[in-house]
Point group: C2
Chain length 414, copies 2
């Protein structure tokens, strides 16, 4: 079961893993070796120009919602990341999740022709070319984006189906505050409306305080241009807010003095705008990516449990893991820097004894907010907890994976 922090360092060092019958299933004395005759990849100029992954790597995104037509994105609303294959904290751009609600065709934009207009309650309305934006002071930050619909689900067979609508990338661009200072925001302006170039010119209303704080107008993603499915050539990053605010193919920002109702309003403003704005924040959330539903453990023995944690409220401060269905919790190790509003990798060493059990993770963010269980949420709303219980609003509850005695891993809520 869970190891205490003090045990961890000396665990492998002691040789106990190998000597004590808790060995890696497959490690063997050095007699075998990779076959001597190695095949080689026949290259091409194309492969020099822009490399590809191995033909043995087959992790792909999957589409949720409607079935893809030959036009594919024309009818696909949700394309989910294969988190079961994730390593580190960066999602490769080719595997970054895609959510779309404003017409789902991907605009094919020539960056030379693209403009960002900022107007409304400003002293100097301006139009920026891509070249203009790239001349301005830039920042690079690691941030996750997550669809508000991403959640534990009784129908999900895999983590990709339940949690695949979140991804994390290194974003580069200009702070929106720099642009807003250039145009000069007039007194009384309290919201911005950000509009993309997609079919229905969908827009999102964002509080001015957030816009001036840490929003980014991004042209770079993971070291190259933002991908078309992510808003090429320009997207808005609204760190920690629901995915829908991160406007893609950004072409216009209007500075206004009240919340604008838009095509995308999912009932955010049933409350007062000021309170509702806080409600846009993705709550502290975590999920174990290995082992997870759909995977198969080859046998008892040592495993590193690994997962991702993130919060719209800032940096992840703590992740706890339970390997006994939630009775005991052990602090996981946070791997690398826990950035604000970014996926954070955690891990815990684990010896599986071969009996059925359940794995859970829960995280705490820098504000002290703790990821809740489904039972806690049901109790809060005073409703019965059953497998089909759907958490109202965004769902950041704990995911439980059931490990069967044959090593198969399952969604405990299915």
């Amino acid at each position: 079961m869970g190891l205490k922090r003090s045990d961890r360092r000396g665990f492998l060092k002691s040789g106990a893993v190998l000597a004590g019958g808790l060995a890696l299933g497959a490690v063997r004395p050095a007699s075998g070796q990779t076959p001597e005759s190695v095949a080689f990849i026949k290259g091409s100029e194309e492969l020099i120009a822009y490399g590809q992954r191995s033909r043995f790597e087959t992790a792909v995104r999957i589409s949720h919602g409607r079935t893809p037509s030959p036009d594919a994105f024309g009818l696909v609303k949700h394309v989910a990341t294969p988190l079961q294959e994730s390593v580190g904290v960066i999602t490769p751009s080719a595997l970054h999740y895609v959510g779309t609600t404003r017409g789902s065709y991907i605009p094919d934009i020539d960056p030379q022709e693209h403009r960002l207009m900022i107007h409304g309650m400003v002293d100097r309305p301006l139009t920026f070319t891509m070249e203009d934006l790239k001349r301005l002071p830039s920042v690079t930050r690691l941030h996750f984006i997550e669809c508000a619909a991403n959640r534990p689900s009784p129908t999900a067979k895999t983590i990709q189906e339940s949690h695949g609508m979140t991804s994390c990338a290194e974003w580069t661009g200009v702070l929106l505050s720099v642009l807003l200072k250039e145009v000069g925001v007039k007194g009384g302006a309290s919201w911005i409306v950000a509009e993309g170039a997609e079919e229905v010119k969908g827009a999102s209303s964002i509080p001015m305080a957030k816009a001036m704080h840490d929003c980014l107008v991004c042209y770079g993603m993971n070291g190259e241009a933002v991908r078309p499915q992510q808003g090429y050539p320009l997207r808005l990053l609204v760190p920690g807010f629901e995915g829908i605010f991160n406007v893609k193919w950004l072409r216009r920002i209007k500075v206004v003095d009240e919340y604008y109702m838009t095509y995308n309003d999912y009932g955010h403003l049933r409350q007062e705008p000021e309170n509702a704005a806080l409600g846009y924040l993705i709550g502290p959330k975590s999920v174990i990516t290995f082992p997870c539903a759909g995977q198969q453990l080859p046998g008892r023995g040592f495993y590193e449990i690994s997962g991702l944690a993130w919060s719209g409220g800032g940096a992840i401060r703590r992740v706890e893991v339970s390997t006994d269905g939630g009775r005991r919790w052990t602090d996981a190790e946070i791997r690398g820097t826990a950035y604000r509003m970014a996926h954070t990798r955690f891990s815990l060493n684990w010896n599986w004894d071969g009996t059925e059990t359940a794995l859970l993770s829960r995280c705490t963010d820098e504000q002290g907010k703790i990821q809740p269980s489904r039972a806690q949420v049901a109790e809060f709303f005073n409703v019965p907890l059953d497998p089909s219980y759907r958490v109202p609003g965004r769902d950041n509850t704990i995911q439980t994976w059931r490990v069967a005695s044959d090593g198969s891993v399952h969604n405990a809520y299915a």
Copy 2:
């Protein structure tokens, strides 16, 4: 010219850029806008599975050395990263530089068949499958790799030709020390020999102290599997050492008690092994990636100068930029976290007055080592400095870019 640190924050805020005649060349009042009729990308299932970059993005790697044959990699020794297009600190895996000296075909390895054998002066020689390795405690770290031949050059027309043989990625894998502790290194063992699966089974000898300190056996790169050109399914990362030590397609590590001369020995051991080992370290180095040779400034006005700095000796502590040919130096801003042995992004705000000038950067690492000029190196070796002067060994000297009055940017050494 260079702005003082204290001036920077209020620079754009004040509106002086726009109001004072030092405006962005192309910013204009908000009358124009992206054309209303937007074309859309016709999708495909393939595009859902694994996304692609925009057809408008054309940055590619270029091959150095011999001309590519139809078999391409069969005759290509150096494939350089387009640093002129870089943003942030991550190099996209598709654009990561490739260097090869041990037969240059790319092995086509089935990860199910791949094994890593560790043997020699050990208590328990072991063979690990990929599955074994992925069960062990992992780490994720940002690290650069650089070819020892990467350097300012009088023949280089672009930064890609002079500096493109370095890249930086988020690497995930097992600390080599974990594996070495598993096999149990015998007393007296002082070196390891790491061997890849390429044609000539090239190998590198690495001091045991380095092997136990921070070397990584990597299966992950930028959030997915290591790419074939980078050693799929397994490569050794030797942070801060010359590129040649970072053995790709890693299949065997032999623990030994002396330096082994290998196919790849580029005279590293003309000195005592202990001293030579220190000589493997890439020195503190930096280069301005915008503006750089081959680029064209559209006119006078405001620009963010941006570049990369890195050192084999640890983290970058300071970067200075000169915008007047080296007479005055200004501290640049370090963007994001300066990780040890990782590319570090720096930037400096700059108003170009339209006259010919030269841009330079120099960095200092955590050990206090400062990137030298070519003149300093020539003086040290007491040789005349002329344009064709070739710095002996690795060359981490300052690169100067000349900005002509027409805005074109050139290699000052060409």
